[in-house]
């Protein structure tokens, strides 16, 4: 049964990839890339990797699609055709692909219990994380405790990415954005006509934010955590922006505040690490935070997930604001 599902999903994945290559209309390409992510998420579910599937669905299907759509507002909707047939590039891609496939020949079979990756640290994670970390969700204990340093790196990467986007695109002319919009005759009344949409979105926004908080604080027990929660929380804000306009959303939280919040998230994460150092442990060794190591782990994971969530949320909204303000400038 699972084999049939896998084959169907992989076939759809292949068809979607081909369609993305063939279609020139960028709007369709974005929609197809969202479908691609959703198919990937379904594949992850069939492999029992619900945390990864959750992240893929939230990031790939949700926020990436919205960000790409807001980018389209600042560019063209049609793909420019390539000036000539890039035969050399095709050759390079084929050669690299062949080498990569050749490289996989040496790798152990999929799901092989004797594979090196299942012999190294995985047994300890699976068997002893309950006693050492006390978190029901092993993925959370690996992500935030055993591999806390890696996750700190990821958070910093997201922070840096957000800073670079804002640095490159920026909010130049942002103060006059509202005036310009009014001068161009673009008002939010275009969206205001959608009365039903307005009411339903108003109804959903609190639920989305509540669900994000649930995902954030329930990460110890089920799939979820700071990354997914941050993205879902940001999608609530993006919903609001789409419906009520950029100016209204920026009155709720300004880009400057958002950049402070993003830095605060990284600061919380790094601060926990420094605190553990000062209390006599290793960097990000949460055992020393409380007298009881398990309680210390619980507190540490809670704090760093909070840091990850705040950073991801504010960077996502910041990037969306940057792209959306760009759209106004072009008009």
């Amino acid at each position: 049964m699972e084999l049939i599902i896998d084959i169907t999903l992989l076939t759809f994945l292949g068809i979607t990839a081909l369609a993305i290559n063939r279609i020139d209309k960028l709007f369709c390409v974005i929609m197809l890339s969202g479908i691609y992510s959703l198919l990937c998420a379904s594949l992850f579910v069939t492999m029992d990797a619900v945390d990864v599937a959750f992240t893929e669905a939230a990031v790939g299907t949700g926020i990436a699609t919205v960000l790409l759509l807001s980018t389209i507002g600042a560019t063209d909707t049609q793909q420019r055709s390539a000036p000539r047939r890039p035969l050399f590039a095709l050759l390079v891609v084929c050669a690299t692909g062949a080498i990569l496939i050749y490289g996989t020949m040496d790798m152990p079979a999929f799901g092989d219990p004797d594979a090196p990756i299942h012999q190294h640290v995985a047994p300890r994670y699976l068997q002893e994380s309950q006693q050492e970390i006390g978190s029901d969700n092993i993925v959370t204990s690996i992500l935030s405790s055993y591999r806390g340093f890696d996750t700190l790196g990821e958070t910093v990467v997201i922070f840096t990415a957000g800073l670079s986007v804002v640095g490159l695109i920026g909010f130049r002319g942002m103060q006059k954005f509202g005036d310009r919009q009014r001068a161009a005759g673009i008002t939010q009344d275009d969206m205001g006509k959608h009365l039903v949409l307005r009411i339903v979105i108003k109804m959903f926004i609190p639920l989305i934010l509540l669900f994000a908080l649930y995902v954030q604080f329930h990460g110890d027990f089920g799939p979820g955590g700071g990354f997914q929660a941050g993205v879902i929380f940001a999608s609530g804000f993006i919903f609001y922006t789409l419906m009520f306009g950029l100016d209204a959303a920026m009155r709720v939280v300004s880009p400057r505040t958002l950049s402070y919040i993003a830095a605060l998230g990284v600061l919380i994460y790094g601060g926990v690490g420094v605190a553990t150092l000062l209390m006599g442990g290793n960097f990000l060794d949460y055992n020393v935070l409380r007298s009881n190591p398990l309680q210390g782990q619980h507190l540490g994971i809670f704090l760093i997930e909070l840091g990850v969530g705040t950073t991801v949320f504010s960077i996502m909204v910041l990037i969306f604001f940057a792209f959306s303000s760009r759209k106004g400038l072009r008009q």
Binding site: H194, V196, L197, M203
Partner: protein
Amino acid sequence: MDTFLAWASILCIGTGVFLAVTGAVGIFRMPNFFTRLHAASVTDSGCACLLLFGLMLQSGFNLPTIKLCFILIFFLISSPTAAHALSKTALSCGAQPTPSPREER
């Protein structure tokens, strides 16, 4: 009672699957935007809700059922709204609800 629930759930899931297939056929075969949207929104609301309800009957009264119930309520509100927004935008962009002679087969 169990047999009744099992049959009811099979009936729900079966109808849902039927609606999914007819919806998919409709998206390809219908002549213009609004009729296609109708096919899509039947899949969205009718099929998804029936499938979820069938799954709820399968699962019995426990936590997954409550979660499925939340998803069901979400679907019942969100998919008609999406269809409404789409059709309203299409209408304001000048799409005609009745098929023009050119579009009729």
